[in-house]
């Protein structure tokens, strides 16, 4: 057993931490919120140049051959900096789906462009009625000659406004909640018949409602096996979940540090409020949760890429459940211990709070993963 980073991983960590500290000021992020895409294309280019977009892709496809642990290192720093660039949608969800589901031809044509920052994919994993059930798919894809015609709706598709490719689960056979009969399709972001309603999310990202009306795609748009895409979707979403767990850990660590600093510097009743024992104990609880959350994110990252699907599901759901609960406690207490200051939009505390809240929902909340863990 060895839980220390490799030399390469240490290098990545140093560079992403430096980036988060020096090149991603909070007010710049705030200004990005007012743009239509909600993120900076320049920063995206930088991510590509630093090798981050392809960090978990094989070298043969323009990547650097890393693993989910490298993704974890990046996501943790992105959490701390509250990065709004579509890393987890494009690089993690998109990259993993293309890598695990793509034909050799698809991988060769798409992955190097993704790694170079020239192709932005997103995954449309939810429908208005589906909640967190990945197999609840009503969108249909009907065979039409060599190609398919897609009809239906997808909800809260992150960063679809910027996506060159939307990866769309659609039903090629079976009934709404059947496990069998789902296929994945690569749909161009500007395909005829695809309409979007774009909006900002409460945590400063971008998402869209998508409508598919007679959207025609070729036979080569199929990603992975026809009718049998659900296991692939689940694996991809587990990778995404592992990544956002790491993001949450970065946020919690930042909240922990900021709150600790506040307890040491804010004075009331003639002393730092950190002298009050009830706040000391609260702070220790926060600390303990941050440490365990970090351990859980590491466990998930080390397991998610492995060969055993049950081990993968268990590790990811355990981590997501724990981090959902811990994130809620840590974010609520960070605001509470900051007093009214914690309620302001000016401080970063509330923005961390919002992102942690949304991460709990993303890919299934704590309850969802508790149930999934229990079923395994």
């Amino acid at each position: 057993m060895d839980l220390s980073y490799t030399n390469e991983q240490n290098l990545i960590r140093d560079s992403v931490q430096r980036f988060a500290r020096d090149s991603y000021p909070f007010d710049a992020r705030r200004r990005l919120g007012e743009t239509s895409e909600g993120f900076s294309r320049g920063t995206w280019k930088t991510f590509a140049e630093l090798g981050w977009l392809g960090v978990a892709l094989p070298e043969a496809y323009g990547g650097s051959g890393g693993s989910a642990v490298d993704v974890m290192i990046l996501m943790e720093a992105f959490g701390r900096a509250l990065v709004v660039e579509p890393y987890f949608t494009a690089a993690v969800l998109g990259g993993t789906a293309l890598l695990l589901g793509g034909s050799e031809a698809q991988k060769r044509s798409l992955l190097p462009r993704l790694a170079a920052g020239e192709l932005l994919p997103t995954l449309a994993f939810a429908e208005p009625q589906s909640r967190f059930d990945l197999g609840d798919v009503q969108t249909t894809a009907r065979q039409d000659g060599a190609g398919f015609v897609i009809d239906g709706a997808k909800s809260v598709v992150f960063h679809a406004v910027s996506a060159d490719i939307v990866i769309v689960p659609a039903r090629t056979s079976g009934e709404r909640r059947d496990e069998h009969g789902i296929s994945l399709f690569l749909v161009e972001g500007d395909a005829a018949g695809l309409t979007r309603r774009d909006y900002p999310t409460v945590d400063g990202h971008r998402a869209s409602e998508l409508k598919f009306e007679n959207v025609r795609v070729g036979g080569d748009a199929l990603l992975g096996a026809r009718d049998a895409a659900l296991p692939l979707i689940e694996t991809v979403v587990d990778h995404g979940t592992s990544a956002v767990c790491a993001e949450a850990v970065g946020i919690m660590a930042a909240l922990y540090e900021a709150t600790l600093e506040h307890l040491k510097t804010r004075e009331q009743f003639g002393q730092p409020i950190g002298r009050f024992q009830v706040l000391q104990h609260r702070m220790v609880d926060i600390f303990a949760m941050c440490e365990q959350a970090r351990s859980m994110a590491l466990m998930a990252a080390l397991t998610v890429g492995g060969p055993d699907p049950t081990a993968r599901r268990k590790a990811v759901s355990a981590a997501k459940n724990y981090i959902g609960r811990a994130g809620r406690f840590v974010s609520q207490q960070a605001v509470q211990l900051h007093g009214a200051m914690g309620m302001t939009d000016e401080l970063i505390i509330g923005h961390y709070f919002k992102r942690l809240t949304m991460i709990d929902t993303l890919f299934g909340n704590a309850d969802h993963h508790l149930e999934r863990f229990g079923r395994l």
Partner: protein
Amino acid sequence: MDLTFNRDEQAFRGEVRRFVAERLPADVKHKVENGLRLEKDDYLRWQKALYEKGWAAPGWPVEHGGPGWTPVQGYIFEQECALGDAPAVMPFGLNMVGPVIIEFGSEAQKARFLPRILSSEDWWCQGYSEPGAGSDLASLKMSAVRAGDHYAVNGAKTWTTLAQYADMIFCLVRTSASGKKQEGISFLLIDMKSPGVTVRPIVTFDGGQEINEVFFEDVEVPAENLVGEEGKGWTYAKFLLGHERVGIAQVARSKRQVERLKKIAAAEFKDGRPLADDPNFRAKISTVEIDLLALEHMELRILSDETAGQAPGPESSLLKIRGTEIQQEITELLVEAVGYYAAPYQPAFLRDGANDEPVGPGYAPALAPTYFNWRKASIYGGSNEIQKNIIAKAVLGL
């Protein structure tokens, strides 16, 4: 002992219920029911309807325009207003400065301010907290120096709720720097239109604009605006705190929110079935309902003591703690209930001014902002940590 209300009380309940149903403007009801943001005018229209009926100030003595209700009637009134989705009364004039003026003010102050509070002609705000004085309120610094027939006021208040609407602010100010901190504090009424007063908005992280900084630069305040005696402000503020806790449990409002939660859970789906049928989620709703019953019956016991002539003691801090914890829990469950549709940020739909349909179900847009915003409830009005300190000391004797 009897848990039910008597015939008169039940008739009174019916009267209030009918009044709310008839006089509460439909658009205001809609906003309250759906957790949308209220404008100044929304509060005022309801407050004026109450005023016309003679019900504006349930807690005030009859001679100053109170309705002369028993504590039980006051309780029923609060309940019915909440169950009928009336906006919460802005407490600053009616429940805070009003009772202080009635108890400690001069005859001139009573004649000048009370009728305008009653009729909502003046909107008041509360100037206690300062950047350096939050939980430790007695360390406040804003100074008022007597100069002939006025005070020269300098300093800043912060976190002032709805100061942007206010005509008047009641402030705790420092009139003396010597002796015990508490003894140098006075209670001063200040016209917000006085030269030298500026208001700077503070945006909260849910995107709301309800708190402000208020700056005072060489503001001249007539000496006749001092309430009671110089140096007694702390005593008056503590008297007021007792009033602040009345109704703070907000049981009826939380009940309405639980009803709303149940409706939403019935409309949402989980694994192809209504979320309301999910055993886990149902258990969460039931738990909060049971907590609410525990709170309600604690409140009824305090009410019963009050009816028997006992003033509410520091136990009522429990109402604040449990009341706010339950409110916060419900806002969390509401966010949980809508799943991904908590994510879209649609400020236009928080104001009820939008013409088109929101993204996702119509009940969704306000849920996440309300959860964020409601974190304030365990901070303001004396944080829940401070309330526990009070109970530990004053009730438990620790």
